[in-house]
Structures are given as structure tokens and as C-alpha cells.
């Protein structure tokens, strides 16, 4: 497999940021009471990840290593401001739902972690592939977590009614408790699956 495709693939499962590396927990837990909120947060993170990955990969040889972290943070914070203003202008309801968790993408450890560990050391194409892989891996984890919580909490998924009006809705799934416990179970499930497929020896 060519290197950029490998860089892309690893974020999807093997090094999934939310479920394997346990990074970016605040948005993962905070906005996933509905699937669509998880999708919006995932896409916003994907955008910031790719855009700052491009910039940092391009200027990686110009930044003195002593001040690299502040430089990364400023680049990331600028793109978060872009995403924030974009959502406020075109999806103002979603902007209200995400609240402070959208600006908090600035300190999302996934983004700074990828900049430090990958984009600052690799050429443009690989960095873009890595950013897309990590972003999409993060997004599917958020959408899955949001779908499970929405299904049990409201009886719907992406606003589509699946369980009819007889379903009273599990209050605990809408509360923070539901977020913690569902994510705990998802990570445990992921551990079980990985344990099962290990003997077949993929990579």
C-alpha cells in the first residue's frame, strides 16, 4: 500500500482518536446527545484538522522548534474562528447547540497531537491523508455514539422516528451519565473486537 493511503487508513480504526487513542474526550462526550450534533462537531474538527495540517506541513521548515507549539496553537485557533463564524452565519441553530464546545476545538488534543506528531514532520500529501483519516475516524465515532444515545434517549436517529410515540425515552441517555457509560461500553466493545481479529494477523 502506498504511504499516504496507509496514513489515511490508520485513523479510521487502528489509531481511531476517540476510541483507541482516547483523545478529544470533551467534545466526544459533550455534544453527542443526538447523532446530528456529533456529525457537526466531527466535521468541524475534520475541517480544522485538514486546514491546519496543510498550513503547518507547508511551513514546517520555517518555524524554529522552540516556538513551534505557540505557532501551531495560533494557526489552529484561526481556523477554529473561521469554522465558528461559518456555523454562526449559515447554521445558527447548530452553532447554539455546540456552544462553547466549538471554540474548545482549539485545545482538542487530537489536533495539537497530530500537528506535533505528524504534520510538522511529514510532507504535504501525507499530512493531508493523515488529517483526513483522523478526522473521519473521529467523526464516525461521534456519529455512532450520538446515534446510540439518540436511539435510547429519544427513540429517533438523525431525527427519524424509529420507535414510535409509545417510547417514553430513557432520561439517563440524555444526561451526562449516558455519555460516559455509552462511551465506556463502546471502547470495551472495540477492545473485544480487536482481541478477536488479532490472530488473523492484519499488519
Amino acid at each position: 500500500m502506498p504511504q499516504p493511503i496507509k496514513d489515511f487508513m490508520k485513523g479510521l480504526w487502528k489509531q481511531n482518536p476517540a476510541l483507541r487513542l482516547i483523545l478529544g474526550m470533551c467534545p466526544t462526550l459533550a455534544v453527542t446527545n443526538m447523532a446530528v450534533n456529533g456529525l457537526a462537531m466531527g466535521l468541524a474538527t475534520l475541517f480544522v484538522l485538514v486546514a491546519s495540517g496543510i498550513i503547518i506541513s507547508l511551513v514546517r521548515n520555517l518555524i524554529p522548534s522552540k516556538v513551534r507549539i505557540p505557532c501551531y496553537i495560533v494557526v489552529i485557533a484561526s481556523f477554529v474562528t473561521v469554522a465558528d463564524y461559518f456555523l454562526a452565519a449559515f447554521f445558527s441553530d447548530m452553532h447554539k447547540v455546540l456552544g462553547i464546545y466549538l471554540p474548545l476545538v482549539v485545545v482538542n488534543c487530537i489536533i495539537l497531537g497530530r500537528m506535533e506528531a505528524f504534520a510538522s514532520k511529514n510532507p504535504l500529501l501525507n499530512s493531508i491523508a493523515d488529517a483526513f483519516g483522523m478526522g473521519i475516524g473521529f467523526t464516525w465515532a461521534l456519529v455512532l455514539l450520538g446515534s446510540v444515545r439518540e436511539f435510547f434517549g429519544f427513540g429517533t436517529v438523525f431525527g427519524l422516528t424509529l420507535l414510535g410515540s409509545w417510547y417514553p425515552g430513557m432520561l439517563v441517555m440524555k444526561l451526562p451519565t449516558g455519555a460516559f457509560i455509552t462511551l465506556g461500553l463502546m471502547i470495551a466493545l472495540m477492545n473485544i473486537i480487536n482481541e478477536r481479529i488479532k490472530p488473523s494477523g492484519a499488519q
Partner: protein
């Protein structure tokens, strides 16, 4: 005065940073294994929270609002926090090396702790005045420390418990956090003025 007490209790218990706002989860899961390190981390976070809460309030009111630069809010806040953490680290290393030994290693981690930036953003969204921001920062730091210590106490006992293999470490910690969050949601029924 009673208004300030309300703000403190809301920040520390009702809207606890870890269990209600999901802020500072990474150190919460990473550090909270022993009560001793939980106390040091909590103290370090509270310290930085109060100083950065107050300084971002000053930046917001005397620079950003005054000169009409709302779009510079996130870069400005995060840079202030990052440089403050660096300054505190240098100051402690030079003048209080015993304190530095206790929580110095946690300081660099704090820059990317979302609880700090989250607090600055909440202060600016809730439109608190200077005193209120200060009290809110202290309350938030206290609540964070409390959460860390409770969690560490449970996890110290968990080390001798037979946890099923797939649940070891992070999954069981998340499930315990869920149950603690359920307990903390009881505070929501406190009627605050």
C-alpha cells in the same frame, strides 16, 4: 454576597466542570490514579484557572471589547493561557522549587486542558463582572479538584478488583465517571436563587 455564594456552588457542584460540562476529561482519566497526584494536579489547575480566568477577563473587557476585535478572541485567549502557564512554570522553578516539584510536571499539560479555556469562554459568555469571574474560577477549580480526588479514591480500590479484561483502564473509568455524574446530577435539584 449571596449572589457570589450561588456562583461558587453552581460552579463547584451543580454545573461541575467534569461531570456536567465534560471539561478537563483527559487529565481526569489520565492523572486520577492516586489521591496524592490528584491533589497536586487539582491544585495546579485551580491555580492556573484563577490567574487565567482573571487575566482573560481583563483582555476581554479592556482590549477586545474596547477596540472591537471579537474575532481575535480565541487566539488571544489561548495565547494568554499558554504564556501564563509558561511564566508560572518559570517563576515556580526559580523561587519555589518545592512547589515546583509537587506539581511542576503537570503544568505543561495544563495549556491544552480544555477546562482552562472553557472557563475563560464561560466567563465571557455568562457576562460576569470582575469579582464574579474570580469567584467562578475558584469554584470551578474546587469542583475539578473534588472530582479528581473522588475518582482517585475509587480507582485506588479498583486496582485490586477483578475487572474483565476488555473493561480494564479507560472503559471502567468512564463507567465510574458516569455513575458519579449521576450522583452529581442530584445537585441539580438545589434551588439556587
Amino acid at each position: 454576597m449571596s449572589n457570589l455564594i450561588t456562583i461558587f456552588i453552581a460552579a463547584a457542584f451543580v454545573n461541575n466542570f467534569v461531570f456536567y460540562r465534560f471539561l478537563g476529561i483527559c487529565p481526569f482519566l489520565g492523572i486520577s490514579r492516586h489521591i496524592k497526584s490528584a491533589v497536586s494536579m487539582g491544585a495546579a489547575v485551580t491555580f492556573v484557572m484563577v490567574i487565567s480566568g482573571v487575566s482573560t477577563w481583563l483582555i476581554q473587557n479592556f482590549v477586545l471589547d474596547r477596540f472591537g476585535l471579537p474575532f481575535l478572541k480565541y487566539p488571544a485567549f489561548i495565547l494568554v493561557i499558554a504564556s501564563l502557564v509558561q511564566l508560572i512554570e518559570m517563576f515556580l522553578k526559580r523561587y519555589h522549587s518545592d512547589i515546583y516539584k509537587t506539581f511542576g510536571i503537570y503544568l505543561p499539560l495544563i495549556t491544552t486542558n480544555c477546562a482552562i479555556l472553557g472557563l475563560a469562554l464561560l466567563n465571557s459568555i455568562l457576562k460576569y463582572n470582575f469579582t464574579e469571574s474570580f469567584v467562578y474560577s475558584v469554584g470551578a477549580g474546587f469542583g475539578f479538584t473534588l472530582a479528581l480526588i473522588i475518582m482517585a479514591g475509587i480507582r485506588e480500590r479498583l486496582e485490586i478488583a477483578p475487572v474483565p479484561k476488555p473493561f480494564q483502564n479507560i472503559p471502567i473509568a468512564l463507567i465510574i465517571a458516569g455513575l458519579l455524574a449521576l450522583a452529581f446530577s442530584g445537585f441539580a435539584s438545589l434551588s439556587l436563587g
